[in-house]
Subunit: 261 residues, 2 copies
């Protein structure tokens, strides 16, 4: 039985101010909840069907409260259009201390990414490409927005996300001898440029691209060339799609510079 | 002034059965509407702010009815959370006759893509990479779903989309001497394989991948290798992200096979 208060709490966690006040965030979607169950994140309340609880072999001692619920009850509590079989109310982790070093050869800084779906997809891309640290400008969407969590498909448990400024990162990059490169519509063709060995890649806002404040700090400007021949064609790629193409080309050049056949 | 009937019509066009009955579909978002204004698509009703109408220099003779509206009225009529300054109710084009040839060196077949955002993003990717024809299985999301139109950012005006079966495409591919390749989690590493000169790339459903019926027709299985070293890392990439990486690598091999520095 899911109480009215629990439903109210779940719905309210769509808002950042409530998340920060209650020190809680929401994880929905069975894949995401399963990942959280096996992570270091503390679950305060797990609302799930008996079937989900059985298949996940949940260690209930690790969870504040387990509430068995019918699919109908979960539908009522969920903030998703198509709810699944579980909802986890989790403890908001303390914000991570900014590291002194870039852990991976490739790191990413997001300059005011607004769309939660884009941020979540980029977190999933980082996880795939072995990028452990994702840096976000202070105006970038909140990682604990339920839509970000949803789109990350559990990858938010494995990628460290830091909110910081370009100025702080520039200082860190200088110490670590890492190049700053940005994705622009005009710049060097990524397929014709040898990528730096260590790179902080900067991706700009959906509508406005990289801000002028950030652009000043950038040493290299890269572009993904368009392959259409029609001048009226797509003006840009979605930012998560562009991020993926950059990561793919960086890793390809490093690990598979020439195809063998 | 936007009438109650117009608002009712707009809201109802979220449903495929209404779109097919009324032979109408919805275009929202100023960039999308601007693209439609310069396309061959017939606009039955354009609801827009005076400012939008001024900046677009709309030829009102080409439009059934222009309804000037305040931002508040547009918000009331819109099916978006964050409406902009225009909504176009457009005539549903007749479904296109299946072509006899593949126009581009790279074409794509989507095997039951469900998420409208993914389909729209893939249409935008096709436009960027000069892929004129996108083939979809009969169970793939409807291109005239407002969320598909929204995510395509106007690219739906430039990419020809056909709903068909793998059997019909296999026949066409044989005649055109084009290879069928699929994106799998296990397969040849795309960075180490020389891509066929002409390719029909097959991308599978978000949850289930490529269906066994379609898999039987596939000659080559490709994968995007993961670069993380942790076995618990992301199991897959979002399908639109994976499509973009495949297109990028295909075009790179063809146009920029070796970087020059």
């Amino acid at each position: 039985m899911v109480s009215k208060n629990t439903i109210k709490l779940i719905k309210s966690l769509a808002l950042k101010k409530v998340r920060n006040k209650e020190k809680l965030f929401l994880v929905e979607g069975d894949k995401n909840v399963a990942e959280v169950l096996h992570s270091a994140i503390t679950i305060e309340k797990l609302i799930a069907t008996q079937n989900f609880l059985d298949t996940q072999k949940v260690d209930i001692n690790k969870i504040g409260k387990v509430i068995e619920a019918s699919p109908q009850e979960i539908k009522k509590a969920s903030i998703l259009k198509n709810p699944q079989n579980s909802i986890a109310v989790c403890k908001l982790p303390d914000s991570k201390k900014l590291p002194e070093n870039f852990e991976s050869d490739l790191s990413i800084f997001l300059d005011d990414i607004q769309d939660p779906g884009n941020l979540g997809t980029i977190i999933r891309i980082c996880d795939w490409f072995g990028i452990n640290q994702l840096f976000c400008s202070l105006q970038t969407a909140d990682v604990y927005n339920p839509k970000v969590i949803q789109a990350s498909m559990g990858s938010f448990c494995r990628v460290d996300i830091f909110y910081t400024t370009i100025e702080i990162l520039t200082g860190m990059a200088a110490k670590n001898q890492i190049s700053l490169a940005g994705a622009f519509l005009e710049g060097e063709n990524i397929y014709e440029q040898k990528m730096p060995k260590k790179l902080l890649l900067i991706m700009g806002n959906e509508g406005n691209g990289i801000s002028s404040r950030v652009e000043k700090k950038i040493e290299k400007k890269f572009k993904i060339p368009a392959f259409n021949t029609n001048s009226s064609s797509a003006e840009s790629l979605n930012v998560s799609v562009a991020t993926a193409i950059f990561c793919s080309e960086f890793k390809r050049q490093k690990h598979f510079p020439f195809y063998s056949k």
